[in-house]
Symmetry: C2
Subunit: 300 residues, 2 copies
């Protein structure tokens, strides 16, 4: 009830931050309706938004920073700052943490997730970023590589198109914003379901989240994931798997995995991270409780 009231409060104060973590599957619309980027902008406080862009994953961070700065300035953000980290020392610079306190939104662009994590994973900056997000003080969005880094276990690379096997996916350590999930992006376009299944077979305590292009999985503080955009979000839930031969087979041999639960969600669908159930406006199926916070979900 208290939660509902605070929700109403937020709705009536559009300038306030509506905290969330937005995992975007890449190739989001930047020029037409810009539904996902507008959602980020609105949630960051709209014309009161103070946005930090992190283009570190990109090969050309200058150009990438400029693209998103133009977009958010065009939307009317109060301030847009580019944090061009090109060395690990920068990620460890305590001054950056103070910068974060003045931001209402952080946007991490695409590129190579390994480059991003090389400079930023396990730095005081990321600890601060995680804390600010969990305390509801800002919105964090990441697209493509920027989405891949949201979990603790991160898909760093791999193949596609074969049956699931261990060599199909290379895992690394991400930023751990929502540690309980493994994110994959450009999902169905690049045929990555087998890759995500291979990752989940390796880490069956995690929940797999595959995000299509121009599509966003929006993680709210109430423990719900909502789908926004033109594609799908695929949930691979290994919570009931009886067994997998993953640890026992050769790297390129097929492995068995039984009782995966698979949900394919589209725009407007919601999923409860705690209940591991879908809530659809269409069906009216609502998880019986949804009181957890993002930080609680991280231990799921």
């Amino acid at each position: 009830m208290q939660q509902l009231e605070s929700q109403i409060l937020r709705e009536s104060l559009p300038q306030r931050i509506k905290t969330a973590v937005m995992a975007i599957g890449g190739a989001e619309d930047r020029v037409r309706v810009r539904q996902i980027l507008s959602t980020f902008f609105e949630r960051a406080g709209a014309t009161n938004a103070r946005i930090m862009l992190i283009p570190t994953a990109s090969r050309d961070p200058d150009a990438m920073g400029r693209i998103y700065r133009d977009i958010f300035e065009d939307m009317g953000a109060k301030a847009v700052e580019v944090l061009d980290v090109r060395a690990r020392e920068q990620g460890e610079n305590p001054l950056l943490e103070h910068h974060l306190e003045n931001c209402t939104g952080v946007f991490i662009s695409g590129g190579d997730q390994l480059r991003l994590c090389e400079f930023l994973a396990n730095t005081p900056f990321v600890t601060k970023l995680r804390s600010q997000v969990q305390q509801g003080k800002m919105v964090l969005a990441g697209t493509s590589a920027g989405a891949a880094v949201i979990g603790h276990q991160m898909i760093a690379g791999g193949g596609s198109g074969e049956f699931p096997n261990r060599s199909l996916v290379e895992m690394s350590i991400g930023l751990g914003i929502i540690p309980g999930i493994i994110v994959d992006q450009h999902f169905h376009k690049r045929n990555r379901l087998c890759r995500l299944i291979s990752a989940i077979a390796e880490y069956p305590d995690k929940l797999g989240i595959g995000i299509d292009e121009d599509t966003c999985a929006l993680f709210s503080p109430d423990g719900l994931v909502e789908v926004i955009g033109k594609g799908t979000v695929t949930i691979v839930d290994p919570g009931e798997i009886a067994s997998t031969s993953h640890p026992d087979v050769g790297a390129s041999d097929p492995f068995s995995i039984y009782n995966l639960r698979l949900h394919i969600l589209s725009h407007g669908d919601r999923y409860s991270l705690d209940k591991r159930e879908v809530y659809s406006q269409r069906t009216g199926i609502l998880p019986s409780s949804s009181s957890s916070s993002i930080s609680q979900n991280e231990n799921a």
Copy 2:
């Protein structure tokens, strides 16, 4: 108990037919170990086997018939006959039914499943074929297009690589040997999981069976499916889906589907069509009952 005894009887008489339906995912090994083709040959009675080849799906049925005839003759089959059906009138010829009574195995080759069904679906020949298989009088194997036709609902074509959507799959009517399943083949190699999910969303009373290349789903009369070969068999079970938006969305729009159950099985794994449970030799998990016949499964 009776079933077990008859099983022991069969094991002790290797020349006898071990009835089964073998759905092969295409590109089976024809030149080296030939594990799958040997299994068909053995089950058809080995040196007592009288095999009918149906190369109708192929663009070059002469060549295709010759390839498999050489293989089974080389293995030592008693007789190999090619049934080169090139018109629907042939499929309706009552003489062909009598031919079937003398066969211990029928092998349907790859090509275009629509061509095969154009000439053979709903003919007296196929009615007889189905009856012979269900009565345990012969082994039926189909590879690629020959596997696609095994269900009643058949995947005739479609795309790959996008998120699941209605236009991703074109359905048609197959031979209905095991009506309760929808088969897809060349499965992970051609990224067809989304296509099979799209088919299953359209026919949620069916069970989806995706078969990799050089891999076989062997349907035994005891209601178990066993995996043979180097890839995987993927089971898409919609038995618990709460809801799908499949009927309500545009042909190329993403649809939602919740609570699909997914099993990825590899060599030696078994699955009970009745219990919809996996039996793995590795885990020792055994369905509590497996007494149905293939014909019973067809109503599943």
